[in-house]
Symmetry: C2
Subunit: 217 residues, 2 copies
């Protein structure tokens, strides 16, 4: 019998921090996949095309076609991968530690990123940079305090978790919007340690198929 093994397809944009979260998960779990770039800036935003709207009515990246279904929302995708491909684990076995991982992940995914994403910033006009800085700063102040209770080498203890998959792309956004990271030594230390790992390197915005030549590294 011949098996038709289809690789998952990730609809992604090199610079999207939510897409980066998923790329890290796929890399850590060693899942080979194909990427279809959706350029959020070109043609007034390719995510608004009828073609992409059929893939994701939310008109956002990432979206992952896998096992015959399409999943959207980065944390839902990551937890589906966790459910179906549990090694290496991205959620600790202990329920209290799992709660910490989800709390930090949601703090970034619901409490910081949505407030400074492209569609909101586009509505802010001249206040764009100031708005992004304010949202990230206020979120990072809380995060720095939380990490003082939860962190080891990484966000929660010494194992890489879903929280770390949220942290690194959010720090990437902070740098892009000129946020001063001085007041956040724990965030900065963990981010640096994570960026040493191969899965965070290969998934980096500077190394994607749709990364423009001048931003490649």
């Amino acid at each position: 019998m011949q098996l038709n093994i289809q690789r998952p397809i990730l609809y992604s944009y090199f610079r999207s921090s939510c897409s980066w979260r998923v790329r890290i998960a796929l890399a850590l779990k060693g899942i080979a996949y194909d990427q279809i770039p959706v350029n959020l800036m070109k043609d007034g935003g390719q995510q608004f095309s009828a073609e992409f709207k059929a893939v994701n009515p939310m008109q956002q990246v990432p979206a992952l076609k896998i096992d015959g279904i399409t999943i959207t929302q980065s944390l839902a995708i990551i937890q589906y991968l966790e459910d179906t491909c549990p090694n290496p684990r991205l959620l600790p076995q202990d329920p209290k530690k799992r709660a910490q991982v989800r709390m930090i992940s949601d703090h970034i995914a619901s409490g910081i990123q949505p407030l400074q994403n492209l569609s909101i910033l586009n509505k802010m006009g001249e206040r764009k940079m100031e708005w992004a800085q304010q949202c990230i700063t206020s979120g990072f102040q809380a995060l720095e305090q939380i990490l003082q209770h939860t962190a080891g080498r990484y966000c929660v203890g010494d194992e890489v978790s879903m929280a770390d998959l949220c942290l690194v792309p959010q720090v990437g956004n902070a740098e892009r919007y000129g946020v001063n990271l001085g007041p956040y030594p724990t965030i900065t230390r963990i981010n640096k340690a994570l960026l040493e790992l191969e899965a965070f390197k290969v998934s980096h915005p500077s190394r994607q198929p749709d990364t423009p030549a001048e931003l490649r590294s």
Copy 2:
């Protein structure tokens, strides 16, 4: 008020949609708890007090003290309750259905609610209502389409799930901000069916310890 140290303590605000999500979960799972109201409007916002900041550095409700830890972020709280008190189940056993539940939950919790929460609306001045309506409308357009693939009696099939715990409070916000629900028959139908259930009734903003007399029902 004398608190029973055995019971979980929920820091909550009657009108907070994220607090309502957690109250529904506690009611469905039959977990008795005490509520400490945090009035987001009074004294410039009681969530900003030093006392509450020690409970939750994010200065947001809900926060749940349970089993010796404090958990914040509503979906992290709900999933901790699911991990430690699995009956009745709020996440389906099938990984694909779990992914649908998480996708819808995150669509509301990351894609709609944060954009129309109190702290953002306070920054919008005169544009407040228009902004809230726009965010909810655009989120509901996508949600209505998604539900056409996933819904049975409720958001995903015929069992109440975490997605339903997000849906009802978000519809409550939509009504509060005068969003026309005509174009969303599936959302409206599911919301109505859920509001018939006892757990959704007892957790309703109109029936909390801190609900002002004029809003009680």
